[in-house]
């Protein structure tokens, strides 16, 4: 719709170390999405009954600003943001070396300042950059990207109109070093062939974003 090829990503800009009073932070612009992530911790886990004496708990809080969408979003957690927080926390727990910090909590806050479809992928990508910036030991970065089906065509990285009026959305997060898939959701219907094609497309998209992530961590910022 915006003149991209079916397998082309939107323009991406990443920056690390953008916030002052956090352990690590990152800012990602992905198309019209603007997301900032900050890491606090490892710090003491509250409530204490949730402490795990063998490992740390990674808690990601996803929040959309009231002004992030066209209609005003009612502030505070809702069904969707609680779900995204949960799946993103689980995706990050797979890579963070949680056994280094027994009883502790690692809190990641993801704030969506402007949303234009695919915010969970952008949020997760920013969160993993912020964790690496904070010096939290991780076996690799987590990188996320979505594919989907619009007008009977499998496409990469859906924008807002494609997502709203398309037939399917398939966000995916991977650990590039091991090839593990740490997040995979599907909203809509795909045939087996279409799924395989969308999966491969999203995987390749993730690898492109991974290269940018590495560049951003080394140079402070990166752009595509």
């Amino acid at each position: 719709m915006d003149g991209r090829r079916f397998d082309e990503l939107r323009p991406i800009k990443m920056k690390v170390g953008v916030l002052k009073n956090v352990q690590g932070s990152a800012y990602v612009e992905w198309g019209k999405n603007k997301v900032v992530a900050g890491v606090f911790g490892p710090r003491e886990m509250h409530p204490k009954r949730l402490q795990n004496p063998t490992e740390a708990t990674v808690r990601l809080t996803y929040n959309m600003a009231a002004f992030s969408v066209d209609d005003r979003k009612r502030p505070g957690p809702d069904r969707r943001s609680v779900e995204i927080s949960k799946i993103s926390s689980e995706a990050l727990t797979g890579v963070v070396q949680v056994h280094h910090y027994p009883n502790a909590a690692i809190d990641v806050f993801v704030e969506v300042l402007q949303a234009d479809a695919g915010t969970r992928c952008v949020g997760l990508t920013a969160a993993s950059l912020a964790l690496a910036d904070a010096g939290i030991p991780m076996k690799d970065l987590v990188v996320a990207c979505a594919a989907g089906k619009v007008d009977d065509e499998v496409v990469l990285d859906l924008m807002k109109e494609e997502d709203n009026f398309g037939q399917c959305d398939l966000p995916m997060a991977i650990v590039p070093r091991t090839g593990e898939v740490v997040l995979l959701q599907q909203d809509g219907k795909l045939t087996q062939e279409e799924f395989n094609k969308a999966f491969d497309m999203a995987y390749q998209g993730c690898l492109k974003v991974y290269e940018l992530q590495k560049k951003a961590l080394l140079n402070g910022e990166a752009q595509q």
Binding site: Q23, G24, G41, P42, R43, E44, P53, A56, Q97, H100, Y101, P102, N103, A104, A105, A132, D133, A134, G135, I136, P137, M138, K139, D140, L141, V175, P176, R177, K214, L217, L218
Partner: protein
């Protein structure tokens, strides 16, 4: 087999080499070793160690830390040392009982334990410097040899920058102390207590060292900086 040059900056998940020995902040899977954090790789023949760029402070036995008393359990205190883990302090009583190991007036750091504050003189909110005696398996630490720090302010720096702030044989911190005429106590946990003298200059100098910790010739530049600022 090493793939790396010495002093390369590596990222989490980056391959460090095959069939090598790796020390800190690395993980070995099969024959291959990978980095866990962003840091500087030091390569010595078949050995790679990683110096992280940033990271949290974890209590280690022998570290001298600065903390704030946050809970009083009636003579036993919980001390916040700006880490994920609280420390326990059990000062020695006037009659010499309690306080864990050692006796008053011992050797080394215990030498000055006659001046150690008695439990009844400590209260919530007090700032103190103490040594970590030991750390247990869930990283909870016990403090020993507390020294009360009064009438000062605390600033926070990245814990991994602390060795640079202290300098080789305390060279850097001594320069700052001398030029600012401040009393400065540096904790390995990244908390720095400053009192008296030109405190603003001391804070600025410490912030400058923190920001430029990775550069060489810093001691000379700090000398110039402090001389120019102290003459203003």
């Amino acid at each position: 087999m090493n793939n790396l040059q010495d002093r390369t900056i590596v990222l989490p998940g980056q391959l460090l080499g095959e069939k090598i020995r790796c020390e800190n902040n690395c993980v070995t899977e099969g024959d291959k070793s990978y980095a866990l954090v962003k840091g500087l790789a030091r390569v010595d023949r078949n050995m790679v160690s990683l110096i992280p760029m940033n990271g949290p402070y974890l209590p280690k036995a022998g570290d001298v830390v600065i903390g704030v008393i946050d809970v009083d359990f009636g003579g036993i205190y919980s001390v916040d040392i700006n880490s994920a883990y609280k420390c326990i302090l059990k000062p020695m009583r006037e009659d010499g009982r309690g306080g864990g190991r050692g006796q008053r007036g011992g050797r080394g750091r215990d030498r000055g334990r006659d001046e150690e504050p008695a439990p009844e003189n400590l209260k919530v909110g007090d700032v103190l410097s103490a040594k970590i005696a030991y750390v247990d398996e869930v990283r909870e630490a016990k403090l020993t040899g507390p020294r009360l720090l009064e009438n000062g302010c605390i600033i926070y720096v990245r814990p991994l920058r602390v060795p640079r702030i202290i300098g080789k044989q305390k060279s850097m911190i001594n320069i700052i102390r001398e030029k600012t005429k401040s009393n400065i106590a540096v904790g390995q946990n990244g908390l720095i207590w400053i009192s008296g003298g030109n405190m603003q200059l001391a804070v600025d100098a410490i912030r400058k060292v923190e920001a430029e910790a990775h550069t060489s010739g810093l001691t000379d530049r700090m000398m110039e900086f402090l001389t120019s600022r102290s003459n203003v």
